[in-house]
């Protein structure tokens, strides 16, 4: 899973899939089955930045422990951004 990672934490593949699903559900990350480079606005890194900015976390564009911990919290299913 092409998730930019912060080297502070070991994430399992399942963690990464969860993070990808989270960004798809709440930050309008589009699937990219072909793996061809997407427009920069829809990369995983840009969506991570969007989420980190929304929650007032340090904006790194990388999945770090704090961002992942926040993804675990129970929440509303309506997206935070987008249509």
């Amino acid at each position: 899973v092409p998730v930019p990672l912060d080297d502070s934490h070991e994430f399992t593949e399942e963690d990464l899939r969860f993070a990808e699903r989270y960004l798809r559900t709440h930050y309008d990350l589009r699937p990219n089955p072909t793996g061809i480079m997407k427009k920069s606005a829809n990369t995983m890194a840009s969506k991570l930045r969007e989420m980190q900015a929304f929650f007032g976390l340090e904006v790194t564009g990388k999945l770090d422990e704090e961002t992942y911990e926040l993804m675990q919290k129970p929440r509303c299913g309506v997206p935070d951004v987008g249509e």
């Binding site: 926040l70 129970p74 929440r75 509303c76 299913g77 309506v78």
Partner: protein, 368 residues
């Protein structure tokens, strides 16, 4: 506060809702009361009226479902996604769905149906998620306690921009979220916690990482649901890896997220006189192993090792810490200095030379 694209809203003020299904976690009457109270949160501050209908199609159709439940936005089993709702509009517009794989309650157990419903109905009326961690429309669930719920100011501003203000607000004083760089910022308490610094204000605390400039604002109850809001004082005993929090005559001991069993205790169990009403501020001084408690214009010294109050106290603050004023809101120690907070000012006091060496704004704590 945020709106949906095109600022979707209802073009009428009299709206209907219908409860299509129930959860087995609560009695029907409890579910109905939770939803009625949730709608009242919004009708109290706008001209909106909500009427329940028992047949036909209502503006806001409410139901419980699990996983894929008919709208192609599946729920995900226990926890995770709790509920969702659609912005104003025909058909699904305004409808609210609740994940029945959750445990719904009318108290702090599981997820409080009233709180989640009030949030979802905010979406039904046209509000999107807010970035304000104190807002009802913040996307993450936090149980905000038993005492009467009052809609935070951020949500009031948002909904009134859509529908205007009503004329029947029973609680016009809506809690605001503090601004860390406000010139007149004062704080309730400050403590270190495993290398971070926590600065308490009203329902919140800021988390300050040593390496970061940005402080993260968090609701106290999102970390410690059992703690009261607006605490009086806090300090860390690094040897025991415990943080003690004070409010009124009570003290809580925390080990990370957990409250130590047997707490809260009464502060007079620590050796304070029974008539002591509250602790204003407290600081642990690593080098001496003493903890100083400030209350009113006096302070006490407590020996952490022997767990006994030192004799000869209380003493007048002015006698030992001349110039910091006769009241302390909060205090912490760093590198041989004590930082006393009094309203919008903080006093940097040198323990070694026993005098104030600098006066700063309280908000300079946040590099403002």
């Amino acid at each position: 506060y945020n709106f949906f694209p095109r600022k979707l809203k209802w073009s009428k003020t009299n709206l209907t809702y219908r409860i299509m299904s129930y959860t087995s976690d609560l009695r029907r009457a409890e579910v109905e009361r939770a939803f009625k109270r949730a709608f009242k949160v919004w009708s109290d501050v706008t001209p909106l009226n909500f009427t329940r209908i028992r047949s036909g199609t209502a503006d806001i159709m409410i139901s419980f479902g699990t996983k894929e439940h008919g709208d192609f936005y599946p729920f995900d089993g226990p926890s995770g996604l709790l509920a969702h709702a659609f912005p104003p509009g025909p058909d699904y517009g305004g409808d609210a769905h609740f994940d029945d794989d959750e445990t719904w309650s009318n108290d702090s157990r599981g997820y409080n149906l009233f709180l989640v419903a009030a949030h979802e109905f905010g979406h039904s009326l046209g509000l999107e998620h807010s970035r304000d961690p104190g807002a009802l429309m913040f996307p993450i669930y936090t149980y905000t306690g038993k005492s009467g719920f009052v809609l935070p100011d951020d949500d009031v501003q948002g909904i009134q921009e859509l529908y205007g203000a009503g004329d029947r607000d029973p609680n016009p004083k809506h809690p605001k979220t503090p601004e860390k760089c406000a010139a007149d910022l004062s704080i309730d308490a400050v403590t270190k916690l495993r290398g971070e610094m926590l600065v308490f204000k009203d329902r919140f605390f800021w988390r300050l990482h040593p390496q970061m400039v940005e402080a993260e604002l968090v609701l106290i109850k999102s970390f410690w649901p059992e703690l009261p809001n607006k605490i009086d004082a806090a300090y860390e005993n690094p040897i025991k890896d415990l943080v003690f929090m004070f409010k009124g005559k009570k003290v809580w001991a925390l080990n990370g997220y957990d409250i130590v069993e047997g707490f809260p205790k009464k502060i007079n169990e620590m050796g304070f006189p029974k008539e002591m009403k509250r602790i204003d501020a407290v600081v642990h001084i690593d080098d001496t192993g003493k903890t100083l408690f400030f209350t009113g214009n006096k302070y006490w010294s407590y020996d952490e090792e022997t767990e006994v109050m030192d004799t000869g106290y209380p003493k007048f603050i002015e006698d030992e810490f001349a110039g910091i004023g006769d009241r302390v809101d909060a205090v912490y120690q760093r590198n041989g200095y004590l930082y006393f907070f009094n309203g919008p000012l903080q006093f940097e006091y040198s323990i070694w030379s026993k005098r104030i060496v600098r006066i700063l704004h309280t908000n300079s704590l946040f590099w403002c």
